[in-house]
């Protein structure tokens, strides 16, 4: 066990370094380019870490921006610098994949508030020389997208061919289409919603309270005391992870099977396979993720409500849009159920937008967008192909 702990410690050190000096290109925005936040304050200086794949064409017309989910990052299909695992969307993105890097120039920025190199609570506050912690301003999805737009300006990309993403990434897609309609040719929001539901805010609050209830959280200043709220964050992750799956998927994977034994131990050990699986999910998550970042990003999702920005009329968010949309949901996703995607489609129809909507039959729950779903790949590839033809992007 001490050995394992030492490995975990090393991973945590690597991760802490990533927050300021990531294994990714970084765009630094100095005092002359502050980020205006919805909270009414400016963030300056700040930086955005990002990965790119493929090549930008001569017209600069083939850029695809990918928004990552709550606990994702910019490492879409390369080896992860902290965990050593393969990229989180390597089923979808890569040479010959639906988001084909032979054809498109793929950019994935680490979102504002995250902990993999873009400025967030784990980054060093230049005024104090220690991590921001809870001194970091509360941010929104719109703030994340503003920072991404500044990154694109820096990269000299005026118009995105497409913006794609699932879950919190899908929220970024919708925000892009609403905030910068003239900069988005095609939009692919997957397994998301135009506002976070009360149930989802409730789940997030349970996760945050688990973190804050851990004595090692130390009011968000754990970094100063070289501890971290591992147990709290692990519990938050365990709870959240259940919401990413489905009853059917859990039953198929684990059922009521015991872990490495035939009989119950009549104790509170992880008797069941499903318990042991969740504990593993929790403990591996805390190695690669910052607890305060988890608080800030869940909060940003909670605050997301596109209609609220348009006096309650969602269709106004997409008024006169020329963006092509492809909205996708999954039958067994109870975190962002199909009814949420239908609300997006209704609003887009009311705005006269060109919209496709497909619901994919799967029992894998919300996480289906990250998994091997051939129908998802077919639809994404077909949608992007026809949009690329309309945009005049040469085949890869």
């Amino acid at each position: 066990m001490p050995e394992l702990k030492a490995v975990a410690g090393r991973i945590a050190v690597v991760r802490e370094r990533e927050a300021d000096q990531p294994h990714s290109p970084v765009a630094v925005f100095g005092k002359d380019q502050p980020l205006q936040l919805d909270a009414g304050v400016e963030l300056s200086p700040f930086q955005v870490a990002y990965q790119t794949y493929g090549a930008l064409n001569a017209d600069r017309s083939n850029a695809v921006l990918i928004g990552h989910a709550l606990t994702g990052d910019q490492h879409v299909f390369n080896r992860h610098p902290v965990t050593g695992k393969s990229g989180w969307w390597d089923t979808m993105v890569g040479p010959g994949k639906p988001i084909d890097t032979n054809r498109y120039y793929v950019i994935c920025p680490n979102v504002l508030g995250a902990c993999m190199g873009t400025t967030g609570p784990a980054s060093t506050d230049p005024r104090t020389g220690v991590p921001w912690g809870l001194d970091f301003p509360v941010i929104t999805i719109r703030d994340m997208v503003r920072a991404q737009a500044m990154l694109l300006d820096r990269l000299g990309i005026d118009t995105l061919f497409a913006v794609a993403g699932g879950s919190m990434g899908g929220m970024q897609v919708l925000q892009w289409a609403a905030s910068y309609p003239q900069r988005v040719f095609a939009a692919l929001p997957i397994a998301c919603a135009t506002r976070h539901s009360a149930q989802n805010i409730a789940f997030h609050e349970v996760g945050r309270q688990a973190v804050m209830a851990d004595p090692d959280w130390r009011g968000g200043r754990y970094f100063a005391e070289t501890v971290s709220p591992r147990r709290g964050l692990a519990v938050a992750r365990m709870g959240a992870h259940i919401t990413y799956l489905s009853d059917a998927a859990l039953h198929r994977k684990f059922g009521r099977k015991f872990q490495g034994r035939d009989n119950p131990t009549f104790s509170f050990d992880a008797d069941f396979e499903v318990e042991s699986y969740l504990r593993h999910q929790g403990s591996s998550f805390v190695e690669r993720f910052d607890a305060n970042s988890y608080l800030y990003l869940t909060r940003a999702m909670d605050y997301f409500d596109l209609a609220a920005d348009c006096e309650g009329v969602l269709a106004s968010a997409f008024k006169a849009t020329t963006t092509r949309f492809c909205v996708i949901s999954f039958t067994s996703d109870w975190l962002f159920p199909t009814s949420e995607s239908r609300a997006i489609v209704h609003a887009l129809n009311a705005a006269g937008a060109r919209v496709s909507f497909a619901e994919i039959a799967t029992d894998k729950g919300h996480d289906a967008f990250l998994l091997d779903e051939p129908e998802l790949f077919q639809i994404v590839a077909g949608f992007l192909d026809s949009a690329a033809a309309a945009r005049g992007i040469a085949k890869g």
Binding site: A350, G352, R354, V355, S356, F357, A361, F383
Partner: protein
């Protein structure tokens, strides 16, 4: 459900015209001005939408079956999963130039409401449907004494998506009741080829297996 009807027609080897397009689709497409905005309600596998897009039409579709929708989206068509009976209400007035309902009317729960929505959303409506007044169906009922089953309409009465069959005369009456203008009408034989023009309604009603109507607001 809707796509099943489409497949039945294909099974009956609907006649093919230039570019291998189905003749009944070509007739529908001929009623639509090029470069207009069209909503195809119950668009099946998207064949008609593809044909319309090849004519410069800005086409959108609604389809009930998940497989149909996913096939369309994978082809790059702007199609959403939805139900003619419940989802047309979400479209704003005058959103389209034409709303097409091809071989689907008889499968809707509220045909009149669907027709009214079509002409609210679009300036024109194109409706095609199987004619239950065709002589063969009349004979089947008269002499067989059972609900008719034909090559084009092969379902048993207890397992059919077609819950609102009508004849050409019935549909004409509905158009009059709803107060819509019948701009053009065509009766087609079993293979989708048009019967002779300028025939009286009773002739079409007896010999047409399908009908296509172009309607507009009065």
């Amino acid at each position: 459900m809707l796509s099943r009807i489409r497949r039945d027609l294909t099974m009956a080897e609907a006649a093919r015209g230039p570019g291998n397009a189905r003749v009944d689709h070509l007739l529908v497409a001929d009623m639509i001005e090029p470069r207009s905005r069209v909503l195809d309600v119950g668009c099946g596998d998207g064949e008609l939408l593809k044909l319309l897009e090849s004519r410069g039409v800005d086409g959108r579709g609604i389809e009930l079956s998940r497989e149909g929708v996913n096939e369309c989206v994978a082809k790059g068509l702007a199609v959403i999963q939805g139900d003619a009976d419940t989802d047309l209400v979400d479209y704003p007035d005058d959103a389209f130039d034409y709303v097409v309902l091809s071989q689907t009317l008889q499968a809707t729960r509220h045909p009149r409401a669907v027709l009214e929505h079509m002409l609210r959303i679009g300036r024109h409506a194109v409706v095609s449907f199987p004619n239950f007044g065709h002589w063969r169906i009349r004979l089947l009922l008269l002499f067989g004494g059972r609900m008719p089953q034909t090559d084009n309409l092969p379902h048993t009465w207890y397992d059919t998506p077609n819950i609102h069959f009508c004849t050409i005369k019935d549909f004409r009456d509905l158009c009059i009741t709803v107060g819509v203008k019948m701009e053009r009408a065509l009766a087609l034989n079993a293979w989708g080829r048009p019967l002779r023009l300028h025939a009286p309604w009773w002739f079409w009603n007896l010999f047409g297996e399908q009908a296509v109507f172009l309607l507009s607001r009065r």
